[in-house]
Amino acid sequence: MSTDAVAAIPGDTLRERIVDDLRSAIGDALLDSLVKPGDDVWVRVRTDAWRATGLALRSLGFDYFCFLSAIDWMPSPFGKGEDDPTAPAPERDDTIAQGYAGGETRMQVLARVVHPTLHVGVNVKCDVPDSEPVVESWIPVFAGANWHERETHEMFGIGFAGHPDLRNMYLPSDFEGHPLRKDFPLLARIVKPWPGIVDVEPLPGGSDDEEGDAE
């Protein structure tokens, strides 16, 4: 019955122990970590230790590969596409702010592995150098990373050293650009103006500040 299983679900001490174990395994390659109480654990590792982290996690018993992706922390220069195309472009905050466990670069690779018997997962992040966006491939660690890395490469333009074939998964092979990067415009929001821009025409000659007593 499920009550035993619920009892076995680990608490935050276990999560902290996992971080400690990982730190002892990879040393100072572990840059930062965050244990959110009752929730989840995030660690950030050095770029050159990306594969080593994977191997270390496997040896810690994290055999289940959940997903691998990336995050582009740059705020979108296009907003939500709900601006009036005739009006001047609005000012937008373009400071890059990374999320949990910090970061230094615009893009981060994010992966999640899970311990199949302890039922606890770890979110691993690693910075992707802005100059040369390449990290090590995780295929030798988890064979299933193959497709995830292909997808990430296609969507973010992040290279994976040691990946046998980084072909596009979804898009045509001659597609230019990396759609999930924030500076890639979403065409659907550009070709057509937002119907919410059009507002009710004011009363001819009437002043706008005057409020009727309706509703």
Partner: protein, 393 residues
């Protein structure tokens, strides 16, 4: 190459050897190699998946799925939409079990907002979640027959799935895309008469499961088509991140409904996680059949004691989710469906990584199809059970 890799290679080789030993007539006529394109328009790939298979006679030397014919870029789309709008969007990922897609996303947003739906909402969510699982997997059971040439099961599946869809539509208004979950609860309460109807339907579905067991699973032809075909060992399944029934059929006792604490009602009732040690196509199909049965049991028990009360927690009218990151995954009909939501405190998510089950499940295809025969491609694909929208997102 690590040691595990060579182990996998060895298993793969022995698997190929075993398959080759079964060669028809034991006389293999070697023929010119041939590349067969299965799809994108092919009756076996329910959707527009394309499998490029290099054949030697009828044996597959190398196979590679090529997806993307239905890529809709949902991860990008979520970045320009508000949270309620995203709920309508994620319905369309696994379109056969739509309601189940909404739940983890809403739970992730609720986690970031640190609110929890009231118990009645949790109960109803769980009931609808399981109903969508039944709707999804019962279609799988019927479709399985069609993939193997039996045309009758699919009609029976559609017949009984219709009852479930009627229930979902009666409660949510949407037959396929309910869009019923809201951050903090549900859009509305159940309509009167829902509980009684559901009980009747659950009985019908258990009957449907019996019929499938007699018509398909007990059939020796079906067994000889599926047993020992497409064996996925435990460690390979874990490496590729298989989930759901595919993982449990490889003998991994892991069900996210049981093994994590979510504000849902699964751990309030008595049910069983089915596993199968074989890891072959038959095991995958069999586990799914048992899961449909188990789901009907869960629904029946949940119906007995729905708590009364509101279905909506107190949430602001304009929902802004506080800054943070959250990962929530649930055991969807197809497997583990998770959302990694990054919020910057806006009306909509900053980035959403949609971890869909089929993407991982289908990524094992090149591995598992090596050395099988053309008819087995179909069996294995059918037993892995994917939804195109769930692969391409």
């Amino acid at each position: 190459m690590t040691s595990t890799e060579s182990l996998i290679d060895r298993r793969q080789l022995s698997y190929i050897a075993a398959q080759a030993a079964d060669a028809r007539l034991n006389v293999e006529l070697e023929t010119e190699g041939m590349t067969l394109n299965i799809g994108p328009q092919h009756p076996a790939t329910h959707g527009t998946l394309r499998i490029i298979a290099r054949l030697d006679g009828e044996q597959v030397v190398w196979a590679e799925p090529s997806c993307g014919y239905m890529h809709r870029g949902y991860e990008k789309l979520t970045e320009v939409r508000t949270y309620p709008q995203v709920t309508a969007l994620v319905n369309r990922i696994d379109w056969l079990g739509s309601f189940a897609n909404e739940v983890p996303f809403i739970l992730a947003a609720e986690k970031l907002m640190e609110i929890e739906a009231p118990p009645r909402a949790q109960w109803i969510r769980t009931i609808l979640f399981e109903l969508s699982r039944i709707a999804n997997v019962s279609l799988f059971l019927g479709d399985l027959g069609v993939q193997m040439g039996a045309i009758t099961p699919v009609f029976m599946a559609f017949r009984d799935r219709e009852y479930v869809l009627n229930l979902i539509e009666g409660a949510t208004g949407g037959r396929f895309h309910p869009n019923f979950d809201r951050i903090g609860g549900l859009k509305d309460d159940l309509p009167a008469g829902f509980i009684d109807e559901t009980r009747v339907v659950m009985k019908k579905l258990r009957n449907f499961c019996d019929e499938m067991e007699n018509l398909l699973f007990g059939n020796e032809i079906f067994q000889s088509r599926t047993r020992g075909i497409g064996v996925i060992p435990k460690d390979v399944a874990m490496q590729y991140g298989l989930s759901g029934a595919n993982l449990r059929a490889s003998g991994v006792d892991w069900d996210l409904r049981r093994d994590q604490t979510l504000p849902m009602a699964w751990n309030k009732v008595d049910w069983k996680v089915w596993t199968h040690p074989d890891g072959d196509s038959y095991a995958r199909c069999w586990v799914r059949l048992q899961e449909v049965r188990e789901s009907t049991r869960i629904v029946d028990q949940l119906l007995d004691d729905i708590p009364s009360g509101p279905v909506m927690a107190k949430v602001p009218r304009i929902i802004k989710v506080p800054e943070g990151e959250a990962w929530v995954s649930t055991e969807n009909p197809l497997g583990e469906m998770g959302y990694y939501v990054v919020s910057k405190g806006d009306l909509g998510p900053f980035r959403t990584k949609i971890r869909s089950a089929s993407f991982n499940n289908i990524s094992i295809v090149p591995w598992v199809l090596k050395g099988v025969y053309v008819p087995d491609i179909i069996t294995i694909l059918a037993s892995l059970y994917f939804i195109l929208g769930d692969i391409d997102r």
